[in-house]
């Protein structure tokens, strides 16, 4: 099941092929290297555009959200068995 977290995080990544690719994120003073982006999508809430990333880090799946208006990153959910 997905456990809701909704907390601010910091993200480091690279730009390649006109796209931002997150490489690692910092949550609660821990750095999580991103091994794989399994899915990414654009969504919008009103005029606020968001980009959703599902990433694998240390064997766990995290759902990250980038608010393109406020340029803030959030960790939204984590998959727990």
């Amino acid at each position: 099941m997905y456990l809701t977290i909704e907390e601010d995080i910091s993200v480091v990544g690279v730009y390649a092929n006109f796209q931002f690719i997150p490489k690692k994120f910092k949550w609660k003073d821990n750095v999580f290297p991103i091994k794989e982006i399994t899915l990414s999508n654009n969504t919008r809430d009103g005029v606020i555009k968001k980009r959703l990333y599902s990433v694998i880090s240390r064997g766990n799946l995290y759902r990250l959200e980038f608010n393109r208006e406020s340029e803030q990153w959030k960790i939204m959910e984590v998959w727990v068995e």
Binding site: M1, Y2, T38, L39, N41, N42, T43, D45, G46, V47, I48, L52, S54, I56, L61, W79, E81
Partner: protein
């Protein structure tokens, strides 16, 4: 000489027929809702999963191919599915992701041919008739190329079935019966075999009731219809379906699918239905849910600059159902008006029962090309415009009537697999 002339004519006619023959591809993503969730989450891959609308829901709106092997079907109840497969994992749907994924697929298909029709959230018809000769001389290679393009765009886990045929009916039938993740081309050689082996449930346009009626006459595959006379078909199925069934029997495109060529200027109606989390008996609670649905309808109608003249209301319980409608003299597209008319219709409901499903629809839509001059209408329009601009900027339900369900029970817009509102969802912004 005369003989040579007629042979030449036959050859020319055959060549014209080949040139005029269309080539349609039907691409169908396998178990779309479940596959996307499995692509997203490797922990779910190779496992039986059921997709539910939201936490607390009990109806499986989609199931993975692994769950289908246990006999679990779309629409099954979670409790019944867990009896068939105790290891079933139920995961909430990610509707906003599905819509974005479909838009990405649309872009991929547009690189293949300019003639693409998104049929539903996970299905598309691609007409390559005009570009086949020069771009795709080997149509099976094109099929393989589409499989690769989809994997590249969405991920390795996402597979699709591709049907290739001279029309949409056969192309869709081919993709229905093709083994998962493969391409099947229908030619003159295997057309009859397809029509003689495909059950009616896999034939586009044949609903549950019609296939049940056909079964009563021991007709289970389209080819069997060829052995019935037009008179017989007419008596049993009526004038419309007798013709349609005969077309299906010979693998010709049906009326329903040929309608896809028609350019639809705008949506004819916008509706919204929802199954509640529990049975509703309280008039205020029911009213709040209906207002919630009205907000979504008016928001969509106004974005498309439409207004409707018919309001429909439906309430459904566990065993009973009630519905009614009113046709108005003038078209409406203000939230106040829709809520007023829905409330008036609601007052006509006397034989009350606990409600589980709610449905509101605004139909007979037309383009709102001129404004009314009445001062009252102008006032309402000004309020509605302010309402729209706030909600368009900060999200639906930022501003709303005082009486709607609490935030955690709000019904948000979502896409359906059928994508009945594709003109709205896939519109150019």
């Amino acid at each position: 000489m005369e003989n040579n002339g007629s042979l030449g004519r036959v050859t020319v006619q055959r060549n014209i027929k080949i040139l005029m023959k269309k080539t349609i591809l039907h691409v169908d993503i396998n178990s779309y809702f479940a596959t996307i969730l499995q692509q997203e989450n490797p922990h779910l891959r190779n496992k039986p999963i059921g997709v539910i609308k939201d936490g607390g829901r009990t109806c499986l709106i989609a199931v993975s191919k692994e769950a289908k092997k246990f006999g679990i079907e779309t629409g099954s109840r979670k409790r019944e599915a867990l009896i068939l497969c105790p290891e079933l994992i139920c995961v909430p749907a990610a509707f906003d992701r599905y819509l974005d994924t479909t838009k990405r697929l649309q872009k991929v298909f547009a690189t293949i041919s300019p003639s693409v029709h998104i049929y539903s959230l996970d299905e598309a018809f691609i007409d390559v008739s005009d570009c086949r000769k020069n771009l795709y001389p080997n149509i099976k290679d094109l099929g393989n190329c589409i499989h690769d393009l989809i994997k590249k765009e969405l991920g390795e886990w996402v597979t699709c079935n591709i049907g290739i045929a001279e029309n949409r009916l056969l192309a869709k039938m081919a993709s229905e019966v093709a083994p998962k993740g493969t391409t099947l081309e229908i030619t003159d050689e295997n057309k009859d075999a397809l029509l003689a082996s495909t059950p009616f449930k896999d034939v586009c346009g044949i609903g549950y009731a019609l296939s049940k009626k056909l079964k009563l006459f021991n007709i289970t595959v389209p080819y069997q219809i060829r052995f019935m006379s037009e008179e017989e078909l007419n008596i049993i199925f009526g004038p419309f379906w007798s013709k349609e069934l005969m077309k299906i029997a010979y693998g010709e495109e049906t009326h329903l699918l040929s309608q896809l060529d028609k350019k639809i200027k705008h949506m004819k109606s916008v509706g919204r239905s929802i199954t509640g989390y529990h049975l509703y008996e309280n008039d205020i609670e029911i009213g709040n849910v209906l207002k919630n649905l009205c907000i979504e309808i008016i928001s969509k109608v106004r974005v498309m600059n439409l207004a409707g003249r018919q309001v429909q209301l439906g309430l459904y319980g566990q065993e009973k159902g009630w519905s009614t409608h009113v046709t108005l003299r003038t078209s409406i597209n203000h939230l106040n008006d829709l809520i007023d008319w829905v409330s008036k219709l609601y007052l006509q409901w006397h034989d009350k029962f606990p409600v589980i499903k709610f449905a509101v629809r605004l139909s007979l839509l037309k383009e709102q090309d001129q404004e009314e001059l009445l001062p009252e209408w102008q006032k309402q329009e000004a309020v509605q415009r302010a309402f729209d601009s706030i909600n368009n900027k900060y999200g639906i339900f930022t501003l709303h009537p005082a009486a709607i369900p609490p935030r955690n029970e709000l019904i948000f817009p979502e896409v359906t697999g059928f994508l009945g509102d594709k003109l709205y969802q896939l519109r150019e912004k």
